[in-house]
């Protein structure tokens, strides 16, 4: 199997605080890879490093063997890394149609086209239709995003990332805050992601993690603590302790 995304001795410091320490993560092509860890373990920092929102203090990031450490966020998207956000980062004033059309246009390279009307190359429209249908957003597609129910916003959050047709998709707690009865929608969507897309999932919800992941990495205090198959992680005493310690607190 080839490695799709790899970090080499990745490190990020905020002043004196080490948020990511010497992380060597390998995500294989087409993987269903989960990254878990207690609160404050540095999971979101790692995602921000991978997507270029933050610059690492040291270390390198490789995408399909290409060094992307110094690339800007939008250039990484062009190379095929897309992400979702733990807390919705949507365009409150745009409708789902517009939001998805935006991402699709950008991917098809007509984002800087200032002459054609959005959606005029029918390729864009076709893709938008496909995504909105896939993500069950058709019924709310003309509402302003700001007034969508939370579950729908969450779906849109993932839909936008998928609209970039990524090779690597980073999902940052996709089910966070979604009420129990809508959670199955998210699970369903995640499960139905195309097989050739490499997925790195950050999640607290262990049901979702164990249902989805074929491989799990555990991050504690910015350090890659342990890796293994779901079965191995489930059996691992140290992991259990880390988590028990956390749940004991809160």
């Amino acid at each position: 199997m080839t490695v799709m995304l790899e970090t080499i001795a990745l490190e990020k410091r905020f002043g004196g605080l080490v948020a990511t320490s010497n992380v060597a993560l390998k995500v294989e092509k087409g993987a269903r890879h989960a990254l878990i860890g207690p609160n404050g373990a540095g999971k979101t920092t790692l995602i921000n490093l991978l997507t270029g929102v933050l610059r690492p203090t040291a270390g390198r990031i490789l995408l399909d063997e290409r060094d992307i450490t110094s690339l800007k966020p939008h250039s990484r998207v062009k190379l095929g890394i897309a992400r979702t956000f733990q807390i919705n980062q949507l365009f409150a004033e745009l409708t789902p149609i517009e939001t998805v059309a935006l991402a699709v246009s950008e991917r098809l390279g007509c984002g800087k086209n200032w002459w054609r009307i959005v959606g005029r190359p029918s390729q864009v429209t076709d893709e938008v239709v496909k995504i909105l249908e896939n993500f069950r957003l058709v019924d709310v597609m003309n509402e302003r995003t700001a007034i969508l129910p939370y579950g729908k916003q969450r779906l849109l959050e993932i839909a936008v990332a998928v609209a970039s047709a990524p090779r690597v998709l980073l999902l940052d707690e996709p089910a966070a805050g979604v009420p129990e009865d809508e959670r199955h929608m998210i699970l369903d969507i995640v499960a139905r992601l195309p097989g050739d897309v490499t997925v790195l999932l950050i999640e607290h919800d262990m049901d979702l993690v164990f249902q989805f992941a074929k491989w799990i990495s555990v991050l504690v205090n910015g350090v890659l603590f342990v890796e293994g198959s779901p079965e191995a992680i489930a059996r691992d005493e140290r992991v259990r302790q880390v988590y028990l310690g956390e749940t004991g607190h809160g």
Binding site: L94, L102, S105, K112, I117, S122, S164
Partner: protein
């Protein structure tokens, strides 16, 4: 609506964003009609058209890309002086050509200074843009041998438009010219904001972090629209010079940028017509009040501004709701055009 298959509905919705509303058609029909209906008011109408175009330039960056600027006068003034100098030294004598050259020159200045506004909060941007305008004003003041300094640029003579239409004293040529330029640039702006590029600007305004995560080069897009808007402001400034055959330091004044912001806020941002409507309201209001009380008109303008805020712009907008609702009902193409558009597709 829901009986249509979703695919068609989505395609229709995307295209419908850019379709012409009846109120819009009415607006421009009225504007064109004013050429014949209000021949005695062409002078102030010319000013309104110029101010409207200028406000449009601010709307492009503020209403669509979220860049607050208190320094659009920098580009307005640059365009104004460029047009003045081109005419004075007979460099480009055809007004329309000179207008384009001036606009491009102002856009270049916009491009160079755009890098200053990429960082920082609204307040920082306000002050940096303001600073740029003030520095330009000082430069224009300093190099009096070129610009005339505080006395204004004298001796500007504007040749007839296309070599045919002289700029008459009644301002008829000037108004037709200014209105024509406004319409062309408005259509262009309308096209721009409904394009994927325009949509990406709106997304940047809404959420720059996510915009970058979708693959949008945020800074690049902001530089682009800032440059375009500077060009618009430059054309507006050049129009002022060409229609008055004169320009002075006041084109670079802080007050000009401040008034512009007022005009746009009064009219509302982010739907292109805000600047135009604001320009009409502001100018007419000012003209009316200044005729009524030449000395104390600022008091009444101030009172109106305060009242607008205290009552709430949303509430005032909501008073126009019945009109807008009526207009929507009158939209005869509401369901038919979409089908027609769809039908043309292979």
């Amino acid at each position: 609506m829901s009986q249509q298959p979703p695919g068609e509905e989505i395609a229709r919705r995307l295209v419908a964003r850019a379709s012409w509303q009846p109120l819009e058609v009415l607006f421009w029909a009225a504007a064109l009609a004013s050429i014949y209906v209000l021949p005695g008011r062409h002078l102030i109408l010319t000013e309104i058209a110029i101010l409207g175009l200028f406000a449009l330039s601010l709307d492009l960056i503020l209403g669509y890309a979220g860049i607050v600027s208190l320094g659009q006068a920098a580009f307005f003034g640059f365009g104004a002086y460029a047009a003045g100098l081109l005419a004075k030294y007979d460099l480009v004598t055809e007004p329309l050509l000179a207008l384009i050259v001036s606009g491009v020159a102002a856009a270049l200045v916009g491009f160079v200074t755009s890098f200053l506004v990429l960082r920082g909060s609204d307040l920082t941007r306000i002050m940096v843009t303001l600073g740029v305008a003030l520095v330009l004003r000082e430069i224009a003041n300093r190099y009096a041998w070129l610009t005339g300094g505080a006395d204004g640029l004298q001796g500007v003579e504007i040749k007839p438009l296309f070599g045919l239409y002289r700029f008459d004293m009644f301002g008829h040529t000037a108004f037709c010219y200014a209105l024509g330029v406004l319409i062309v640039l408005f259509l262009l702006a309308r096209r721009i904001v409904h394009s994927p590029f325009g949509l990406s600007l709106q997304s940047i305004k809404g959420n720059p972090v996510r915009a970058a995560a979708v693959g949008i080069p945020v800074n690049g897009r902001l530089v682009a629209i800032y440059t375009i808007a500077a060009g618009y402001a430059g054309v507006a400034g050049a129009l002022l010079t060409q229609t008055t055959a004169f320009t002075s330091l006041s084109v670079l004044d802080f007050e000009r940028s401040a008034d512009l912001l007022l005009v746009l806020i009064i009219g509302g941002t982010g739907y292109l017509y805000g600047g135009l409507i604001g320009a009409i309201l502001f100018k007419l209001m000012q003209d009316y009040l200044a005729a009524l009380t030449p000395q104390y008109w600022p008091f009444w303008i101030g009172l109106l501004l305060v009242a607008i805020v205290l009552i709430g712009r949303e509430r005032i907008m909501s008073w126009t709701k019945p009109i807008r609702a009526l207009a929507r009902r009158l939209d005869w193409r509401r369901s038919t055009t979409a089908v027609a558009v769809e039908g043309q597709r292979p």
